[in-house]
Protein backbone atom coordinates (compact mmCIF):
# COMPACT_ATOMS: atom_id res chain seq x y z
CA UNK A 1 0.00 0.00 0.00
CA UNK A 2 2.96 2.26 0.35
CA UNK A 3 3.11 2.66 -3.40
CA UNK A 4 -0.49 3.87 -3.46
CA UNK A 5 0.08 6.21 -0.55
CA UNK A 6 3.12 7.73 -2.23
CA UNK A 7 1.26 8.17 -5.49
CA UNK A 8 -1.70 9.65 -3.64
CA UNK A 9 0.51 12.13 -1.84
CA UNK A 10 2.27 13.22 -5.00
CA UNK A 11 -0.98 13.57 -6.91
CA UNK A 12 -2.29 15.64 -4.01
CA UNK A 13 0.75 17.88 -4.27
CA UNK A 14 0.11 18.23 -7.99
CA UNK A 15 -3.45 19.32 -7.41
CA UNK A 16 -2.53 21.77 -4.69
CA UNK A 17 0.57 23.30 -6.26
CA UNK A 18 0.38 22.89 -10.01
CA UNK A 19 -3.19 22.43 -11.15
CA UNK A 20 -4.72 24.08 -8.11
CA UNK A 21 -8.08 22.68 -7.21
CA UNK A 22 -10.66 23.82 -4.73
CA UNK A 23 -11.33 20.23 -3.73
CA UNK A 24 -7.93 18.56 -4.11
CA UNK A 25 -8.67 15.34 -2.24
CA UNK A 26 -11.67 14.56 -4.40
CA UNK A 27 -9.75 15.25 -7.60
CA UNK A 28 -6.79 13.23 -6.33
CA UNK A 29 -9.12 10.33 -5.66
CA UNK A 30 -10.43 10.47 -9.23
CA UNK A 31 -7.00 10.82 -10.80
CA UNK A 32 -5.50 8.00 -8.76
CA UNK A 33 -8.42 5.73 -9.65
CA UNK A 34 -8.14 6.60 -13.33
CA UNK A 35 -4.42 5.83 -13.54
CA UNK A 36 -4.85 2.64 -11.53
CA UNK A 37 -7.63 1.61 -13.88
CA UNK A 38 -5.56 2.34 -16.98
CA UNK A 39 -2.60 0.49 -15.50
CA UNK A 40 -4.53 -2.63 -14.50
CA UNK A 41 -6.56 -2.71 -17.69
CA UNK A 42 -3.42 -2.19 -19.71
CA UNK A 43 -1.76 -5.19 -18.12
CA UNK A 44 -4.87 -7.35 -18.51
CA UNK A 45 -5.30 -6.25 -22.09
CA UNK A 46 -1.71 -6.93 -23.09
CA UNK A 47 -1.69 -10.31 -21.38
CA UNK A 48 -5.04 -11.46 -22.74
CA UNK A 49 -4.28 -10.31 -26.26
CA UNK A 50 -0.78 -11.73 -26.29
CA UNK A 51 -1.52 -15.07 -24.70
CA UNK A 52 -5.15 -15.73 -25.52
CA UNK A 53 -5.89 -13.56 -28.54
CA UNK A 54 -8.79 -12.13 -26.60
CA UNK A 55 -9.71 -8.49 -26.46
CA UNK A 56 -11.26 -7.53 -23.16
CA UNK A 57 -14.65 -5.89 -23.50
CA UNK A 58 -14.79 -2.21 -22.64
CA UNK A 59 -17.44 -2.79 -19.99
CA UNK A 60 -15.10 -5.10 -18.12
CA UNK A 61 -12.46 -2.39 -18.25
CA UNK A 62 -14.92 0.18 -17.01
CA UNK A 63 -15.93 -2.16 -14.21
CA UNK A 64 -12.29 -2.55 -13.21
CA UNK A 65 -11.88 1.21 -13.15
CA UNK A 66 -15.01 1.60 -11.08
CA UNK A 67 -13.74 -1.06 -8.71
CA UNK A 68 -10.50 0.91 -8.36
CA UNK A 69 -12.52 4.03 -7.64
CA UNK A 70 -14.57 2.23 -5.03
CA UNK A 71 -11.48 0.75 -3.44
CA UNK A 72 -9.79 4.12 -3.21
CA UNK A 73 -12.90 5.72 -1.81
CA UNK A 74 -13.18 3.08 0.90
CA UNK A 75 -9.45 2.91 1.58
CA UNK A 76 -8.81 6.64 1.72
CA UNK A 77 -11.87 8.72 2.28
CA UNK A 78 -13.99 6.45 4.40
CA UNK A 79 -11.30 6.28 7.05
CA UNK A 80 -9.96 9.78 6.50
CA UNK A 81 -6.56 8.39 5.64
CA UNK A 82 -5.46 11.35 3.46
CA UNK A 83 -4.77 13.54 6.48
CA UNK A 84 -2.37 10.97 7.87
CA UNK A 85 -0.69 10.58 4.48
CA UNK A 86 -0.17 14.30 4.10
CA UNK A 87 1.23 14.51 7.59
CA UNK A 88 3.57 11.59 7.01
CA UNK A 89 4.72 12.70 3.53
CA UNK A 90 5.57 9.21 2.25
CA UNK A 91 8.38 8.78 -0.26
CA UNK A 92 10.59 6.16 -1.87
CA UNK A 93 14.12 5.79 -0.54
CA UNK A 94 13.65 9.01 1.43
CA UNK A 95 14.21 10.93 -1.76
CA UNK A 96 11.72 13.37 -3.17
CA UNK A 97 13.42 13.27 -6.55
CA UNK A 98 13.35 9.49 -6.85
CA UNK A 99 9.77 9.48 -5.65
CA UNK A 100 8.71 11.95 -8.29
CA UNK A 101 10.50 10.01 -11.00
CA UNK A 102 8.81 6.75 -9.98
CA UNK A 103 5.37 8.35 -9.75
CA UNK A 104 5.92 10.06 -13.07
CA UNK A 105 6.96 6.81 -14.72
CA UNK A 106 3.96 5.00 -13.31
CA UNK A 107 1.64 7.71 -14.54
CA UNK A 108 3.20 7.85 -17.98
CA UNK A 109 3.09 4.09 -18.31
CA UNK A 110 -0.55 3.94 -17.29
CA UNK A 111 -1.74 6.86 -19.40
CA UNK A 112 0.32 5.98 -22.43
CA UNK A 113 -1.53 2.68 -22.71
CA UNK A 114 -4.50 4.67 -23.93
CA UNK A 115 -2.45 5.57 -26.98
CA UNK A 116 -0.40 2.47 -27.75
CA UNK A 117 -2.70 -0.18 -26.31
CA UNK A 118 -5.08 -0.37 -29.22
CA UNK A 119 -2.21 -0.38 -31.73
CA UNK A 120 -0.62 -3.26 -29.92
CA UNK A 121 -3.77 -5.31 -29.50
CA UNK A 122 -4.81 -4.73 -33.09
CA UNK A 123 -1.46 -5.82 -34.43
CA UNK A 124 -1.52 -8.97 -32.34
CA UNK A 125 -5.15 -9.84 -33.06
CA UNK A 126 -4.64 -9.43 -36.79
CA UNK A 127 -2.17 -12.27 -36.60
CA UNK A 128 -4.48 -14.54 -34.64
Amino acid sequence: MKLLNVIYYNYYLFYTRVLVQGDPHFVTLLALSATEGFFINGIFDVVSVTLFCYKIDKWIMITISMAALLFNYVYYHKVNRPKAIIKKKPSFFSSAFVTKIIVLLFSILAISWLFWGSYYSRSILMGC
Binding site: V20, F26, C53, F115
Partner: protein
Protein backbone atom coordinates in the same frame (compact mmCIF):
# COMPACT_ATOMS: atom_id res chain seq x y z
CA UNK B 1 7.51 -31.62 -44.23
CA UNK B 2 8.40 -35.19 -43.50
CA UNK B 3 6.04 -35.38 -40.59
CA UNK B 4 3.22 -33.96 -42.71
CA UNK B 5 3.23 -36.68 -45.28
CA UNK B 6 1.58 -39.42 -43.21
CA UNK B 7 -1.42 -37.24 -42.68
CA UNK B 8 -2.19 -36.73 -46.32
CA UNK B 9 -4.83 -39.12 -47.50
CA UNK B 10 -3.49 -41.51 -50.03
CA UNK B 11 -0.08 -41.70 -48.46
CA UNK B 12 -1.10 -43.31 -45.23
CA UNK B 13 -3.98 -45.21 -43.75
CA UNK B 14 -3.48 -43.71 -40.36
CA UNK B 15 -5.76 -41.01 -39.10
CA UNK B 16 -4.33 -38.80 -36.41
CA UNK B 17 -6.05 -38.37 -33.11
CA UNK B 18 -6.09 -34.64 -33.37
CA UNK B 19 -6.43 -32.32 -36.27
CA UNK B 20 -2.80 -32.28 -37.17
CA UNK B 21 -2.20 -32.02 -40.83
CA UNK B 22 0.98 -30.03 -40.58
CA UNK B 23 1.26 -27.38 -43.20
CA UNK B 24 -1.91 -28.53 -44.90
CA UNK B 25 -3.93 -28.00 -41.79
CA UNK B 26 -1.62 -25.48 -40.15
CA UNK B 27 -3.37 -26.15 -36.90
CA UNK B 28 -3.27 -28.47 -33.98
CA UNK B 29 -6.43 -27.97 -32.04
CA UNK B 30 -5.07 -29.63 -28.96
CA UNK B 31 -2.33 -27.09 -28.63
CA UNK B 32 -2.83 -23.94 -26.60
CA UNK B 33 -3.99 -21.09 -28.78
CA UNK B 34 -0.93 -18.98 -28.24
CA UNK B 35 1.28 -21.65 -29.71
CA UNK B 36 -1.11 -22.30 -32.51
CA UNK B 37 -0.96 -19.51 -35.02
CA UNK B 38 -0.26 -21.84 -37.92
CA UNK B 39 0.59 -20.68 -41.38
CA UNK B 40 -2.62 -18.89 -42.18
CA UNK B 41 -3.86 -17.87 -38.77
CA UNK B 42 -6.90 -20.08 -38.49
CA UNK B 43 -6.83 -20.04 -34.77
CA UNK B 44 -8.18 -17.92 -32.02
CA UNK B 45 -11.70 -19.12 -31.48
CA UNK B 46 -11.73 -16.68 -28.58
CA UNK B 47 -11.43 -13.76 -30.93
CA UNK B 48 -14.94 -13.93 -32.23
CA UNK B 49 -13.90 -15.80 -35.33
CA UNK B 50 -14.61 -19.34 -34.45
CA UNK B 51 -12.56 -20.88 -37.19
CA UNK B 52 -11.79 -24.10 -35.42
CA UNK B 53 -14.89 -26.22 -35.45
CA UNK B 54 -13.71 -28.72 -32.90
CA UNK B 55 -17.00 -30.58 -32.87
CA UNK B 56 -16.62 -31.42 -36.54
CA UNK B 57 -12.83 -31.47 -36.87
CA UNK B 58 -13.07 -28.81 -39.54
CA UNK B 59 -11.62 -25.40 -40.18
CA UNK B 60 -14.08 -22.69 -41.07
CA UNK B 61 -12.20 -20.46 -43.46
CA UNK B 62 -15.31 -18.35 -43.86
CA UNK B 63 -15.17 -18.63 -47.62
CA UNK B 64 -15.24 -22.41 -47.47
CA UNK B 65 -14.92 -25.21 -44.97
CA UNK B 66 -11.67 -27.12 -44.87
CA UNK B 67 -11.05 -30.62 -43.64
CA UNK B 68 -7.45 -30.77 -42.44
CA UNK B 69 -7.26 -34.55 -42.26
CA UNK B 70 -7.44 -35.24 -45.99
CA UNK B 71 -6.23 -31.70 -46.66
CA UNK B 72 -9.21 -30.89 -48.83
CA UNK B 73 -11.98 -28.33 -48.99
CA UNK B 74 -15.54 -29.53 -48.54
CA UNK B 75 -16.85 -27.47 -51.43
CA UNK B 76 -15.52 -26.57 -54.81
CA UNK B 77 -13.57 -23.41 -55.49
CA UNK B 78 -15.52 -20.88 -57.54
CA UNK B 79 -12.39 -19.45 -59.05
CA UNK B 80 -9.87 -20.82 -61.49
CA UNK B 81 -7.10 -18.66 -60.25
CA UNK B 82 -4.35 -19.59 -62.65
CA UNK B 83 -5.69 -21.20 -65.83
CA UNK B 84 -2.19 -22.13 -66.86
CA UNK B 85 -1.54 -24.13 -63.72
CA UNK B 86 -2.98 -27.62 -63.59
CA UNK B 87 -3.49 -27.45 -59.82
CA UNK B 88 -6.00 -24.66 -60.38
CA UNK B 89 -8.41 -27.23 -61.74
CA UNK B 90 -8.39 -29.27 -58.57
CA UNK B 91 -11.25 -27.36 -57.04
CA UNK B 92 -11.00 -29.05 -53.67
CA UNK B 93 -7.31 -28.58 -53.00
CA UNK B 94 -5.82 -26.12 -50.59
CA UNK B 95 -3.62 -23.41 -52.05
CA UNK B 96 -2.62 -25.25 -55.23
CA UNK B 97 -1.74 -28.22 -53.06
CA UNK B 98 1.34 -26.29 -52.11
CA UNK B 99 0.85 -24.93 -48.61
CA UNK B 100 4.55 -24.40 -48.09
CA UNK B 101 4.50 -21.73 -50.76
CA UNK B 102 0.99 -20.30 -50.65
CA UNK B 103 -1.58 -19.44 -48.04
CA UNK B 104 -5.30 -19.21 -48.49
CA UNK B 105 -6.94 -17.64 -45.45
CA UNK B 106 -10.54 -17.85 -46.62
CA UNK B 107 -10.42 -20.69 -49.07
CA UNK B 108 -11.33 -18.39 -51.92
CA UNK B 109 -8.13 -17.18 -53.44
CA UNK B 110 -4.49 -17.38 -52.55
CA UNK B 111 -2.57 -14.45 -51.18
CA UNK B 112 -0.15 -14.57 -54.06
CA UNK B 113 -2.97 -14.46 -56.57
CA UNK B 114 -4.60 -11.65 -54.64
CA UNK B 115 -1.37 -9.71 -54.66
CA UNK B 116 -1.15 -10.29 -58.36
CA UNK B 117 -4.63 -8.92 -58.86
CA UNK B 118 -3.88 -5.97 -56.61
CA UNK B 119 -0.73 -5.27 -58.60
CA UNK B 120 -2.71 -5.49 -61.82
CA UNK B 121 -5.32 -3.12 -60.47
CA UNK B 122 -2.63 -0.73 -59.37
CA UNK B 123 -1.06 -0.85 -62.80
CA UNK B 124 -4.33 -0.29 -64.63
CA UNK B 125 -5.30 2.48 -62.24
CA UNK B 126 -2.02 4.19 -62.84
CA UNK B 127 -2.44 3.88 -66.59
CA UNK B 128 -5.94 5.32 -66.43
CA UNK B 129 -4.75 8.15 -64.24
CA UNK B 130 -1.92 8.92 -66.60
CA UNK B 131 -4.19 8.73 -69.64
CA UNK B 132 -6.68 11.13 -68.11
CA UNK B 133 -3.87 13.55 -67.50
CA UNK B 134 -2.52 13.68 -71.01
CA UNK B 135 -0.24 10.72 -70.49
CA UNK B 136 1.63 12.51 -67.81
CA UNK B 137 3.43 9.71 -66.04
CA UNK B 138 4.42 11.56 -62.94
CA UNK B 139 1.49 11.50 -60.50
CA UNK B 140 2.70 14.64 -58.79
CA UNK B 141 2.08 16.47 -62.04
CA UNK B 142 -1.48 15.29 -62.38
CA UNK B 143 -2.88 18.73 -61.93
CA UNK B 144 -5.39 18.82 -64.71
CA UNK B 145 -8.19 18.27 -62.30
CA UNK B 146 -9.24 15.10 -64.02
CA UNK B 147 -9.23 11.68 -62.68
CA UNK B 148 -11.16 8.79 -63.97
CA UNK B 149 -12.52 6.81 -61.13
CA UNK B 150 -12.13 3.13 -61.29
CA UNK B 151 -13.91 2.08 -58.19
CA UNK B 152 -12.34 -1.28 -57.94
CA UNK B 153 -13.12 -3.38 -54.98
CA UNK B 154 -10.12 -5.56 -54.69
CA UNK B 155 -11.76 -7.95 -52.31
CA UNK B 156 -8.45 -9.62 -51.94
CA UNK B 157 -9.09 -11.90 -49.05
CA UNK B 158 -12.82 -12.02 -49.11
CA UNK B 159 -13.10 -10.61 -45.65
CA UNK B 160 -12.52 -7.00 -46.49
CA UNK B 161 -14.95 -6.87 -49.31
CA UNK B 162 -15.86 -3.25 -49.06
CA UNK B 163 -12.39 -1.88 -48.80
CA UNK B 164 -11.41 -0.77 -52.19
CA UNK B 165 -8.16 0.01 -53.80
CA UNK B 166 -6.93 3.41 -52.85
CA UNK B 167 -3.87 3.84 -54.97
CA UNK B 168 -5.11 5.92 -57.82
CA UNK B 169 -7.45 7.74 -55.53
CA UNK B 170 -4.62 8.88 -53.41
CA UNK B 171 -2.58 9.89 -56.38
CA UNK B 172 -5.37 11.79 -58.01
CA UNK B 173 -6.15 13.54 -54.78
CA UNK B 174 -2.55 14.52 -54.50
CA UNK B 175 -2.76 15.97 -57.92
CA UNK B 176 -5.79 18.00 -57.05
CA UNK B 177 -8.23 15.97 -59.04
CA UNK B 178 -11.52 14.95 -57.71
CA UNK B 179 -12.38 11.39 -57.18
CA UNK B 180 -10.19 8.48 -57.82
CA UNK B 181 -10.99 4.91 -57.31
CA UNK B 182 -9.86 5.20 -53.73
CA UNK B 183 -12.56 7.74 -53.23
CA UNK B 184 -15.53 5.59 -53.93
CA UNK B 185 -14.06 2.15 -54.11
CA UNK B 186 -12.26 2.43 -50.86
CA UNK B 187 -13.34 5.53 -49.10
CA UNK B 188 -17.00 4.95 -49.47
CA UNK B 189 -16.53 1.52 -48.09
CA UNK B 190 -16.84 3.05 -44.71
CA UNK B 191 -19.24 5.66 -45.98
CA UNK B 192 -17.78 8.97 -45.55
CA UNK B 193 -14.10 8.86 -45.06
CA UNK B 194 -11.93 9.48 -48.02
CA UNK B 195 -14.74 9.79 -50.48
CA UNK B 196 -16.30 12.81 -48.96
CA UNK B 197 -12.98 14.14 -47.93
CA UNK B 198 -11.99 14.18 -51.52
CA UNK B 199 -15.27 15.47 -52.78
CA UNK B 200 -14.56 19.15 -52.40
CA UNK B 201 -11.67 18.97 -54.79
CA UNK B 202 -12.39 20.53 -58.12
CA UNK B 203 -12.52 18.33 -61.12
CA UNK B 204 -14.41 15.51 -62.62
CA UNK B 205 -14.72 11.99 -61.62
CA UNK B 206 -16.69 8.91 -62.16
CA UNK B 207 -18.18 6.41 -59.83
CA UNK B 208 -18.17 2.73 -60.15
CA UNK B 209 -21.69 1.92 -59.09
CA UNK B 210 -20.83 -1.53 -57.91
CA UNK B 211 -18.40 -0.08 -55.44
CA UNK B 212 -20.93 2.47 -54.30
CA UNK B 213 -23.60 -0.16 -53.99
CA UNK B 214 -21.47 -2.43 -51.88
CA UNK B 215 -20.34 0.38 -49.68
CA UNK B 216 -23.86 1.68 -49.28
CA UNK B 217 -25.11 -1.77 -48.41
CA UNK B 218 -22.32 -2.13 -45.94
CA UNK B 219 -23.33 1.07 -44.23
CA UNK B 220 -27.10 0.95 -44.48
CA UNK B 221 -27.90 -2.67 -45.16
CA UNK B 222 -29.89 -2.09 -48.35
CA UNK B 223 -29.62 -0.75 -51.84
CA UNK B 224 -32.37 0.72 -53.98
CA UNK B 225 -32.02 -0.17 -57.63
CA UNK B 226 -33.29 3.25 -58.58
CA UNK B 227 -29.93 4.53 -57.47
CA UNK B 228 -28.47 2.84 -60.48
CA UNK B 229 -30.29 5.27 -62.74
CA UNK B 230 -27.93 7.99 -61.78
CA UNK B 231 -25.81 8.57 -64.86
CA UNK B 232 -22.80 6.36 -64.97
CA UNK B 233 -21.11 8.66 -63.82
CA UNK B 234 -19.18 11.60 -64.77
CA UNK B 235 -19.89 14.78 -62.97
CA UNK B 236 -18.27 17.99 -62.08
CA UNK B 237 -17.64 19.45 -58.73
CA UNK B 238 -17.52 23.23 -58.65
CA UNK B 239 -14.10 24.71 -59.07
CA UNK B 240 -12.11 26.30 -57.74
CA UNK B 241 -12.13 24.75 -54.33
CA UNK B 242 -10.56 26.75 -51.62
CA UNK B 243 -7.92 25.07 -49.59
CA UNK B 244 -9.73 26.07 -46.46
CA UNK B 245 -12.95 24.50 -47.60
CA UNK B 246 -11.19 21.32 -48.45
CA UNK B 247 -9.52 21.21 -45.10
CA UNK B 248 -12.75 21.92 -43.32
CA UNK B 249 -14.61 19.21 -45.12
CA UNK B 250 -11.70 16.90 -44.81
CA UNK B 251 -11.56 17.28 -41.12
CA UNK B 252 -15.12 17.99 -40.30
CA UNK B 253 -16.98 15.40 -42.22
CA UNK B 254 -16.96 11.70 -42.55
CA UNK B 255 -15.82 10.47 -39.20
CA UNK B 256 -18.28 7.68 -38.95
CA UNK B 257 -16.23 4.93 -40.39
CA UNK B 258 -12.64 3.99 -40.74
CA UNK B 259 -10.04 3.24 -43.31
CA UNK B 260 -9.74 4.70 -46.69
CA UNK B 261 -7.04 6.96 -47.97
CA UNK B 262 -6.95 10.33 -46.37
CA UNK B 263 -8.65 9.21 -43.24
CA UNK B 264 -9.71 12.63 -42.16
CA UNK B 265 -12.48 12.31 -39.64
CA UNK B 266 -14.12 15.16 -37.94
CA UNK B 267 -11.79 15.52 -35.03
CA UNK B 268 -10.91 19.13 -35.39
CA UNK B 269 -14.52 20.10 -35.81
CA UNK B 270 -15.35 18.05 -32.78
CA UNK B 271 -12.44 19.49 -30.87
CA UNK B 272 -13.56 23.00 -31.73
CA UNK B 273 -17.07 22.29 -30.56
CA UNK B 274 -15.78 20.46 -27.52
CA UNK B 275 -13.52 23.35 -26.70
CA UNK B 276 -16.30 25.86 -27.16
CA UNK B 277 -18.75 23.95 -25.10
CA UNK B 278 -16.26 23.12 -22.39
CA UNK B 279 -15.27 26.76 -22.25
CA UNK B 280 -18.93 27.54 -21.88
CA UNK B 281 -19.10 24.97 -19.12
CA UNK B 282 -16.24 26.65 -17.36
CA UNK B 283 -17.78 30.06 -17.76
CA UNK B 284 -20.87 28.71 -16.19
CA UNK B 285 -18.88 28.40 -13.03
CA UNK B 286 -17.55 31.91 -13.26
CA UNK B 287 -18.08 34.13 -10.29
CA UNK B 288 -18.90 37.00 -12.59
CA UNK B 289 -21.82 35.05 -13.74
CA UNK B 290 -22.96 34.95 -10.16
CA UNK B 291 -22.16 31.28 -10.01
CA UNK B 292 -20.07 29.50 -7.47
CA UNK B 293 -16.71 29.07 -9.19
CA UNK B 294 -14.06 31.72 -8.79
CA UNK B 295 -11.49 32.84 -11.34
CA UNK B 296 -8.91 30.55 -9.76
CA UNK B 297 -11.40 27.72 -10.09
CA UNK B 298 -11.55 27.21 -6.37
CA UNK B 299 -14.89 26.83 -4.72
CA UNK B 300 -16.47 30.05 -3.53
CA UNK B 301 -19.49 30.66 -1.41
CA UNK B 302 -22.23 32.28 -3.46
CA UNK B 303 -25.52 33.69 -2.51
CA UNK B 304 -27.39 30.85 -4.02
CA UNK B 305 -27.90 27.31 -3.07
CA UNK B 306 -27.47 27.50 0.69
CA UNK B 307 -27.18 29.37 3.93
CA UNK B 308 -23.94 31.26 4.56
CA UNK B 309 -24.24 31.08 8.34
CA UNK B 310 -24.40 27.31 8.41
CA UNK B 311 -21.91 26.65 5.64
CA UNK B 312 -24.66 25.38 3.38
CA UNK B 313 -23.44 27.47 0.52
CA UNK B 314 -20.08 25.81 0.52
CA UNK B 315 -21.45 22.34 0.93
CA UNK B 316 -23.95 22.83 -1.82
CA UNK B 317 -21.32 24.37 -4.07
CA UNK B 318 -18.95 21.52 -3.33
CA UNK B 319 -21.64 19.00 -4.10
CA UNK B 320 -22.41 20.63 -7.43
CA UNK B 321 -18.72 20.93 -8.21
CA UNK B 322 -18.13 17.28 -7.49
CA UNK B 323 -21.13 16.38 -9.58
CA UNK B 324 -19.79 18.21 -12.61
CA UNK B 325 -16.28 16.91 -12.11
CA UNK B 326 -17.50 13.37 -11.66
CA UNK B 327 -19.74 13.60 -14.72
CA UNK B 328 -16.91 14.83 -16.93
CA UNK B 329 -14.59 12.25 -15.40
CA UNK B 330 -17.06 9.43 -16.05
CA UNK B 331 -17.63 10.54 -19.62
CA UNK B 332 -13.89 10.70 -20.22
CA UNK B 333 -13.32 7.31 -18.66
CA UNK B 334 -16.06 5.67 -20.70
CA UNK B 335 -14.87 7.34 -23.86
CA UNK B 336 -11.28 6.23 -23.21
CA UNK B 337 -12.23 2.56 -23.19
CA UNK B 338 -14.70 2.95 -26.01
CA UNK B 339 -12.13 4.65 -28.22
CA UNK B 340 -9.64 1.92 -27.37
CA UNK B 341 -12.16 -0.68 -28.50
CA UNK B 342 -13.16 1.24 -31.62
CA UNK B 343 -9.60 1.83 -32.71
CA UNK B 344 -8.76 -1.79 -32.08
CA UNK B 345 -11.67 -2.77 -34.31
CA UNK B 346 -10.54 -0.36 -37.02
CA UNK B 347 -13.64 1.77 -36.70
CA UNK B 348 -11.77 5.01 -36.13
CA UNK B 349 -8.57 6.32 -37.53
CA UNK B 350 -5.24 6.65 -35.79
CA UNK B 351 -5.58 10.38 -35.85
CA UNK B 352 -9.02 10.36 -34.33
CA UNK B 353 -7.94 7.91 -31.65
CA UNK B 354 -5.02 10.13 -30.67
CA UNK B 355 -7.15 13.24 -30.44
CA UNK B 356 -9.89 11.45 -28.55
CA UNK B 357 -7.54 9.89 -26.04
CA UNK B 358 -5.79 13.18 -25.43
CA UNK B 359 -9.17 14.64 -24.66
CA UNK B 360 -9.94 11.76 -22.33
CA UNK B 361 -6.70 12.29 -20.42
CA UNK B 362 -7.74 15.88 -19.85
CA UNK B 363 -11.21 14.80 -18.78
CA UNK B 364 -10.05 12.18 -16.30
CA UNK B 365 -7.00 13.89 -14.83
CA UNK B 366 -7.79 17.55 -15.30
CA UNK B 367 -9.76 18.15 -12.14
CA UNK B 368 -12.77 20.43 -12.34
CA UNK B 369 -11.46 21.99 -15.52
CA UNK B 370 -11.01 18.57 -17.02
CA UNK B 371 -14.51 17.63 -15.97
CA UNK B 372 -15.86 20.66 -17.77
CA UNK B 373 -13.80 19.75 -20.80
CA UNK B 374 -15.17 16.23 -20.72
CA UNK B 375 -18.72 17.47 -20.67
CA UNK B 376 -18.01 19.87 -23.50
CA UNK B 377 -16.29 17.21 -25.53
CA UNK B 378 -19.15 14.80 -25.10
CA UNK B 379 -21.59 17.46 -26.18
CA UNK B 380 -19.37 18.32 -29.13
CA UNK B 381 -19.27 14.69 -30.13
CA UNK B 382 -23.03 14.50 -29.91
CA UNK B 383 -23.44 17.54 -32.10
CA UNK B 384 -20.89 16.53 -34.71
CA UNK B 385 -22.28 13.04 -35.01
CA UNK B 386 -25.86 14.18 -35.24
CA UNK B 387 -27.60 13.71 -38.54
CA UNK B 388 -28.43 17.35 -39.01
CA UNK B 389 -24.79 18.33 -38.69
CA UNK B 390 -23.65 15.58 -41.02
CA UNK B 391 -26.40 16.46 -43.46
CA UNK B 392 -25.55 20.13 -43.34
CA UNK B 393 -21.91 19.51 -44.12
CA UNK B 394 -22.88 16.95 -46.71
CA UNK B 395 -25.19 19.36 -48.53
CA UNK B 396 -22.64 22.08 -48.30
CA UNK B 397 -19.94 20.18 -50.13
CA UNK B 398 -21.68 17.71 -52.37
CA UNK B 399 -23.86 19.24 -55.06
CA UNK B 400 -27.31 17.99 -56.00
CA UNK B 401 -28.33 15.54 -57.26
CA UNK B 402 -25.31 13.44 -56.38
CA UNK B 403 -25.60 13.96 -52.69
CA UNK B 404 -28.94 12.19 -52.56
CA UNK B 405 -27.49 8.78 -53.12
CA UNK B 406 -25.47 8.90 -50.00
CA UNK B 407 -27.40 11.11 -47.68
CA UNK B 408 -27.13 10.31 -44.02
CA UNK B 409 -30.48 9.04 -42.90
Amino acid sequence: MKEDIPHIRGFSQSVPDSIDGGVFANNDIDMPTWFNRGYTGHACPEFGRREHLKEFDLINMNGRLYDPIPGRMLSADNHVQAPGASQSYNRYSYAFNNPLKYTDPDGEITILAALGIAAAVAGVSYLVGAASNGWEWNPSNWTSGHSVGFGVNTNTAGNTSVYGFGGAGGLSWTGGAAIGNGGFGGGLSSFGQASYNQMPSAGTGSINMQGVERAYQHEYGFWDNSFNKIPELSFEIPAPTLEGELSTAYLAYGGRGGGGPGDGDNDLGKAALGLGLSTTSLLYFDKKGNTWMGKDFSIRSQNWGGNGATGGKFKFAQKVSRGFTGLGYGLGLYNAYQVNEQHNAGEISDFQMTIEQASNVISTLGGIQGGAWGIGWALGRKVVNSNWYQRTIHDRYIPEPYNCIMCPK
